[in-house]
Amino acid sequence: MAPPWRIPEILRRAEKGPLCMEKDFDTKILFPKIRELIKEYDIKFDRETVVPSDNSLADDLWKAGLELYLHTGTLCLETSRRIMFTEDEIKEAIVSFPEKLVVGSGTERREVYHREIEDRRRPFCVFSPSLPFSEELFAIVEMAYALEPLADGVGAGVLDELWGEKVRSKAPTDVSGAAAHALMIREAVRRVGRPNIYLADVQTALSDTAQISVSNPEWGVRTTDGRMVGTISELKIDWGGLNRMVNFHNCGYIIMALYGPMVGGYAGGVEGTAIVSVASHLQALMVNQGHLSTFFPFDINQLNNTSRDLLWMISLVYQALARNSPFLSMSNGIGAAGPCTEMVLLEAAAHGLVSTVSGANLWEFFAARNKYKDRTTPVEARMACEVGRAAAKEGIKREEANELAKKLLKEYEGKIKNAPLGKKFQECYDIKRVTPTQEYTELYKNVKKKLIDLGIPVLI
């Protein structure tokens, strides 16, 4: 059952595939083909439609993504070789893909399944900060995330410092930081009574050396936890990624392909980025060899994905995947505003709503453009998950989700460029009690009242 799908073939093709310089790949192979496919399949963003209801558009996007990937393959950066596949090979990997996946263990065992459009089953929700935190705050933040009852799994922060020094990628502190990360998050989730919850990754470790160093279920990462293999935008991978992929499969880990395309980058605007996003999910299957994937597109200038055009793209990509693939993909929200602001909670609600109705599972939620140290809390993730789960439970249809998303956008889209930075984690939480402050708790309640007035579904 794939993944993995024929690992030796991937490694062979990374060494012997067609030679191609990176600049030629970006400008002569990828971009012209994307332009051609946008025209051929008439993929066009319409400002009035945040959540499209046109199945044929979703299917066309899938076809365009598949055609793109068959044309480009994945570029291996060290060898400048394209890892190419035939359509039959991709089909073989797709039909071999599991219908569901089990993560976590014991009472925290969760099934992750492929969701359909307007699926009434609840989405699998990972709560993750994924931002740098100091050594003093790191474990407290992890406990705060694991204390969220709606979380099916938790990611973690990035350990910014260790023993008073900055953790540095590829340096020995990367390996030490990875070990500290693995030990600290396990202890943190045990302390709050969730020792077996799915831990999504060791985000501190960037290098393959540091990642592989914690492939040790005895004290590091368990095989019921997740490991990440990132794609380099667009449709590229390096040896570090392939090293990880091989090691994680050899050790029997659940692999999550990580992918964050930039709208305005190599694929162009939202239409082109939508096409390359489908192609990248195919790369996630064929090269990253992921069981799960997390998808966090963002605007190259604003760094968020809660704007109208990005929500349209997220919706359309997930609809294409829902209708045409078995993939287990999580939609990862990035808000422009920071914690303890009304705006970030509205952004989170919009992302959770649009993603879930379109067929995604959830990975929530990065605040303050995922840029500023300490500026994210579990409260934003709770809002995204609560609205997403409520939308599934109530069986919200795409047409209705479209109108609701537009109402939410009306509340915040004019403020995206100058979004409030909000507060730091330690200003939003009582860090001794590991609970949100009275101020943030009240704000959450008030925003929920507002959501109810707007007709947005909430869970509790």
Partner: protein
Amino acid sequence: MENLFGKLRKSIFEYNEETAKEAVIEILNQGIEPTKIFDEFASIAKILGDKFETGELFLPELMLIADVMKAAADVIMSEIERRKLMGAERKLGKVVIATVAGDIHDIGKNIVAFLLKVNGFEVHDLGRDVPSLEIVKRAAEIKADIIALSALMTTSMPSQREVIEILKGTSQREKYLVLIGGAPVTKEWAEEIGADGWADSAVRGVKIAQELISGGG
């Protein structure tokens, strides 16, 4: 004359290197000073920056346009040399740019590099995951004015500091202006490590570089 400048502009936006070079030669043959062409380039660069920020122009287009402008600029420079034209010197700053050690993300760095190029800087792009000593060595080799350092991960930001510390440790800090950027990089970090400039967007990065090179940064 308008027609020739129109031809040049059209060629650039259509990524047509040959007709762009032809247009430049035709303009020079008319006795127009090369500085006028560079003024036109500056005007085009401004348009490119604006269009990139408003989402009307994307990175691959920027890369193709930068190649055409570089080819046209090379023709101008060789014509200046050949004809011994006077008054044609450009105040070009030399920039060494890299994504620092431990970081493989280079889209942001590429955008800044291309915008610097189309704005007339001589750009030496060292690529991604470049060791700090290599950056310092290359800056010395080409006698750079600016060292521009990109980092997209918090765990690669220490490499920005390392470059500055190597410069200090080898008594070269005063030789270069150091500009830093990247999604997690903040003004506070720039101040902490003693960088000369910081920018939160590619377009702003080019403006800061221009200000630094003119002594106004």
